[in-house]
Every structure is written in C-alpha cells, then in structure tokens.
C-alpha cells in the first residue's frame, strides 16, 4: 500500500486541478515522440510522424495526448488504490496494445518536464518529489498485469 502524506495529496490534486489538459497532454506526448523516437512504433496508424514539425501538427497525436492525460484523473481520484484502479488498463496495454512498460516511464518523464516548464520555480523540489512519486505509482500499476 502506498502511503501519501497530506502534503503530497494536496500537491497532486492541486497540479491536476490547475492543469490545462488540452495544452499539456499534447505537449507531453509530442515531446515523448521526439525525444524517444522509438515510441513512435505504437502510433503507425496516426499518419505523418516523419519529423518534429509533423509530430507537432498531427491532430491524432494531440487528441491522444489529451486522452492519456485524462487517463490519469482516475488515479488522482483513487490515490489509495491506484493498483486496482488501473488493473484493466494494465491488461489492455499488455494484451491488446503490446506496449513495452518502459515506455510508461519515458512518457512520465516527459510529462514531468512539461509540468516543470509550465510551473517554473513553483515546481519546487518537494512538488517534483510528490509528482514523480505519483507517476511512479501509476507506472508501476500499469505494468502490474503484464506476464
């Protein structure tokens, strides 16, 4: 069981309450596809991903970025039970989507960078610690059902 302090809970809910999903979701996924180009393997149906310009302008990428970010909402609402909350999503990513779970960590790092860029110095070391802890729990839950 993951233990959360009151401060950690309020940091996490605070970040998501003030988040622009339409802005950060696409940016995080775009960054991931550019910085870790092998992640593009999962998006061959998305059309043109040939270069950074194409990735940035791709509406499928943007839409998917928003979808993924909203996917984190359930974890924020169920922080004491993220493992169970994501059991089905984990099966989906393993059995249907066949995503290497290391990619979850890569996207999590890109999301951390985008939040850092957005919040600037308000993204303190304590904020970063809480946010990365949250994402680590999410990443672990998403990889849990792989076998």
């Amino acid at each position: 069981m993951v233990e959360w302090t009151e401060q950690e809970r309020s940091i996490i809910t605070g970040i998501f309450a003030n988040l622009s999903y339409e802005e950060i979701g696409p940016k995080a996924l775009v960054r991931c596809l550019i910085v870790y180009p092998w992640t593009q393997r999962y998006f061959s149906s998305f059309g043109n991903l040939y270069n950074a310009e194409a990735i940035r302008g791709n509406p499928n990428v943007a839409a998917h970025g928003i979808k993924v970010l909203h996917g984190l909402d359930r974890a924020v609402k169920n922080m004491d039970n993220i493992k169970a909350t994501y059991a089905e999503l984990s099966v989906l990513h393993s059995e249907k989507l066949h995503v290497d779970p290391d990619n979850f960590r890569l996207l999590a790092d890109c999301l951390t960078i985008e939040i850092a860029a957005k919040l600037g110095t308000a993204f303190t070391a304590d904020t970063q610690a809480a946010f990365q802890k949250f994402l680590a729990v999410v990443v672990s839950a998403l990889g849990r059902q792989y076998h």
């Binding site: 910085v35 960078i113 610690a129």
Partner: protein
Amino acid sequence: MSLTAEDKAIVKAFWAKASGRAEEVGSEALSRMLAVYPQTKTYFSHWKDLSPKSAQVKKHGKTIMAGVGEGVAKIDNLNAGLLKLSELHAFTLRVDPANFKILSLNILVVFAVLLPAEFTPEVHVALDKFLAALSRALSERYR
C-alpha cells in the same frame, strides 16, 4: 545513439545560453535529486546540511556543472577527454553509475524550469543524448 554534428551544435548553442546560470542549475539539480531520490543522499553522509540553501550543496552544484561544461568543451571525444573524471568516480567516489541517469534527469528538469522557452523537445533530445554520452564517459574506468 552517438552524437551527430547537429546534436553537438544544439548542445553548444544551449550551453552558451545556460552556462551563465551554471551554479544555479547545478545546485537546483543536486537539491532536487536529493529530495526526489533519497537513496542518493547515501553519497553525502559526510555533509552536515543537505538543504538546498546549504553552502555545500551550492558549491557541489557548481563543481558538477563545471564537469558538464568540460564535457561540452570536449564533446568530440568525451571518453578520452573525461578520463581523469572517470577515474575519480570509479576509484575514489565509487558512485553507482545508475545514479548518473538520475542526476541527468534532474539537470533536464531544471533546464525546463529555468529556460522553458529554449528547452524545446529538439533541444531536449540533444541534451539527453549528450548527458547519456557524458555518463558513459564517466563510467569508462569502472571495470
């Protein structure tokens, strides 16, 4: 994943903008690493004060970024250029090389915090590759 000519150009251009704040970047990155990855504190058990404002953290942040700057200057041959630093980390400090990745991530986070407009995905990938190459050079003499 070796550095292309373009990667090197991007790294040098970004470093020209960031190096003026090297000390700030270094101490921020170090503080964040100690806070977010507490296992890294084990290497600093001889320090009295691990808080971000401590003189030791600030000084060490500066030392680390001087190493990064040396990497930028010797970007065309990191393994040979950083041999002495590698020997220091391998034989004296004996830092587990897994921690190089951790510090690298925190350096990138601080770049995003302090220079969000410049730290585009294109710059990010070049710097990520550079820090990975730097880490490999530092690991060169371990075994």
